[in-house]
C-alpha cells in the first residue's frame, strides 16, 4: 500500500453531486403519509420563483436575529470570560460551572426568556445570546490559561514588565482560540435563531416560515425553507472558516 491519498478529481466531485441529486429525487418519490418525504429538486426549484421575495426577507430577518444575538453573546461572553479569568485560579469550580451552563440546550432557555421579557424580539435575541455566551467565555478562559509562551518569556527576559509582556502577546496568541469559539457560537446562533422562531413564532424569519409551510402542507415550500436554513448556516460557517484559516496562517 502506498499510503498516498488519491488526487482530487473534478469528475469525481461532479459524480458525487449528481449522486446526491439522484438520492434527493429518489427521496421525493417516497410517500409515507400520503405526501412525498421531500419535494424533488425540480419542484423545490419551481417553488423558488414565486417564493423568492418573501424567502429573501425571511432569510434576512433570521440572519439579523442571529447576528444581533451573536454580537450580544460575544460582548457578554468577553466580559464574563474576563471576570472568570481573574477568579478561576482562586475558584476553579468556575470552569465546571461554565461547562455545565454550556451543556444547557439554549432552546430550553427560550421559555425562561419569554416569561422574563414577554413575547417579543428581546426574548428571541436573549435566547440566541445565551447560546453563544458560554462558548465565548470558555474560549477566553482557555486562551488566558495557556502556558507562558516563549514570546512572553523573551519579553520578560528583555526587561518588559509581566503586564506589558502579557499585553504584547496575549491578544495575538488568543486569536486562534477566540476565532474557533466565534465560529462555534455563530453556528449555534443560526440554529437557535431558527428554532426560536419556530417555537415562539415571529413575523418574519425562516423558523416561522418553516412552521407556516408545515401547517399549510406545502412540501415544496418546506423543502426550500430547509435548504435556505442550511445555506445560511453554511455561508456563516464558510466565512468564519476563512477567518480561522487566515489566523492560522498568521500564527504559522
Amino acid at each position: 500500500m502506498s499510503g498516498q491519498r488519491p488526487a482530487p478529481s473534478r469528475a469525481a466531485s461532479l459524480l458525487v453531486l449528481v449522486g446526491a441529486l439522484g438520492a434527493w429525487w429518489a427521496a421525493g418519490q417516497i410517500r409515507v403519509a400520503g405526501r412525498p418525504l421531500v419535494a424533488t429538486p425540480a419542484a423545490a426549484l419551481g417553488a423558488l420563483s414565486p417564493d423568492a421575495p418573501t424567502l429573501g426577507r425571511d432569510l434576512a430577518a433570521t440572519a439579523a436575529r442571529a447576528a444581533v444575538g451573536l454580537a450580544a453573546g460575544v460582548v457578554a461572553g468577553l466580559l464574563i470570560g474576563a471576570l472568570a479569568v481573574v477568579l478561576v485560579h482562586r475558584a476553579p469550580v468556575i470552569d465546571g460551572l461554565f461547562d455545565f451552563a454550556r451543556s444547557v440546550p439554549p432552546v430550553v432557555i427560550l421559555p425562561v426568556c419569554l416569561l422574563a421579557f414577554g413575547y417579543n424580539e428581546l426574548a428571541r435575541i436573549a435566547t440566541v445570546a445565551f447560546g453563544c455566551v458560554w462558548t465565548v467565555s470558555l474560549a477566553i478562559i482557555t486562551a488566558a490559561s495557556s502556558p507562558k509562551s516563549g514570546r512572553r518569556e523573551m519579553l520578560e527576559v528583555a526587561g518588559a514588565t509581566r503586564l506589558r509582556a502579557l499585553a504584547w502577546t496575549q491578544p495575538w496568541e488568543s486569536l486562534g482560540v477566540l476565532v474557533v469559539g466565534l465560529r462555534t457560537s455563530a453556528s449555534t446562533a443560526v440554529v437557535v435563531a431558527v428554532v426560536t422562531e419556530m417555537i415562539s413564532g415571529a413575523e418574519h424569519g425562516l423558523g416561522a416560515r418553516v412552521i407556516a409551510a408545515q401547517i399549510a402542507g406545502d412540501t415544496e415550500g418546506l423543502t426550500l425553507d430547509v435548504l435556505a436554513s442550511g445555506a445560511l448556516g453554511y455561508l456563516v460557517n464558510l466565512g468564519l472558516r476563512g477567518l480561522e484559516n487566515w489566523v492560522r496562517r498568521l500564527e504559522a
Binding site: 509562551s149 514570546r151 518569556e153 523573551m154 528583555a158 526587561g159 496562517r249 498568521l250
Partner: protein, 220 residues
C-alpha cells in the same frame, strides 16, 4: 559609556559579575535536573557551556534567566535587557510581525528611539538577502534562528545567552554568523550552549561542562 569603552574596561580586568548561580539545584519530576550547579559570568567574559543531551544545560540557562525557580541555591540574575537565543527559537519569535520588528523587540521594550535603526543594521548583517519587512512566520527554520540571534544582539543588556544558536544554520553560513556574533557582542558577556567544538574555539575563552546536572570548570 560607549561600547568601546565598556569593552576595554571589561577586558582590562574590571570584571564585575553580571550573573551567577551558586550551588543551585532544580528538581524535575523523579530526578534532579541540576545538582548544586555553580557558574559565574563576568563582564565581557565569553563562556561555553558544554555537555551531553539531557545533562541540564538548558535548565541552567532557564534558571539564570529567571524562568525556572531553583529548589535550592542562590541566583544572581543579570540586569534587565539580557539578549537570548532560546533552544525553542521559533516559538520565541512573533510570527505576525516583520523580521525588523522582531529584531527591534528588546530595544522597543527598553523604549530606545534608535530601535529600528539598530535592528535594521543587525538584520542587514545577520540576515543578508532577507527582506526585513517580511513576516517572521514566513521564514525558513535557519532564517528564524538567525532572526533570534539578531534580536539577542540587539538587546541592550550586559549579557547574551545563546542556546545552540547555530543548530539550524547551514554550514556555509555558520562562519559568517560566528564572526557577526563575535564582533557585535562588544563588551557584553556571552554564555554559549553548544555541542560544536568550532563554536568554542572561535567564540569562547572559558568552558564549563554540565554532567548529570553538575557543573565542572574546564579550560577552553
Amino acid at each position: 559609556m560607549s561600547d568601546r569603552t565598556r569593552q576595554e574596561s571589561a577586558r582590562s580586568g574590571h570584571n564585575e559579575i553580571v550573573a551567577a548561580l551558586d550551588r543551585v539545584s532544580v528538581l524535575g519530576g523523579d530526578r534532579p535536573m541540576l545538582r548544586e550547579a555553580s557558574l559565574s559570568l563576568r563582564a565581557g567574559e565569553r563562556v561555553a557551556l558544554l555537555g551531553p543531551n539531557g545533562a541540564g544545560k538548558s535548565t541552567l540557562v532557564r534558571v539564570l534567566l529567571g524562568l525556572t525557580a531553583p529548589a535550592k541555591g542562590t541566583v544572581q540574575r543579570a540586569a534587565p535587557g539580557v539578549g537570548c537565543v532560546p533552544q525553542a527559537y521559533a516559538e520565541s519569535l512573533f510570527p505576525w510581525f516583520s523580521v525588523l520588528r522582531n529584531v527591534a523587540m528588546p530595544l522597543l521594550v527598553a523604549r530606545r528611539e534608535d530601535a529600528y535603526d539598530r535592528a535594521r543594521s543587525l538584520a542587514d548583517r545577520i540576515l543578508p538577502g532577507v527582506d526585513p519587512g517580511r513576516r517572521a512566520g514566513r521564514l525558513s527554520g535557519g532564517e528564524k534562528q538567525a532572526t533570534a540571534l539578531a534580536r539577542a544582539l540587539a538587546s541592550p543588556g550586559d549579557l547574551v545567552i545563546a542556546d545552540e544558536p547555530f543548530s539550524a544554520i547551514a554550514a556555509s553560513s555558520r562562519e559568517r554568523l560566528r564572526r557577526a556574533l563575535r564582533e557585535e557582542l562588544g563588551a557584553r558577556a556571552l554564555l554559549l550552549v553548544t555541542h560544536d567544538e568550532g563554536d568554542v574555539v572561535d567564540l569562547c575563552e572559558r568552558t564549563v561542562r554540565v554532567i548529570d546536572g553538575r557543573t565542572v570548570e574546564a579550560s577552553a
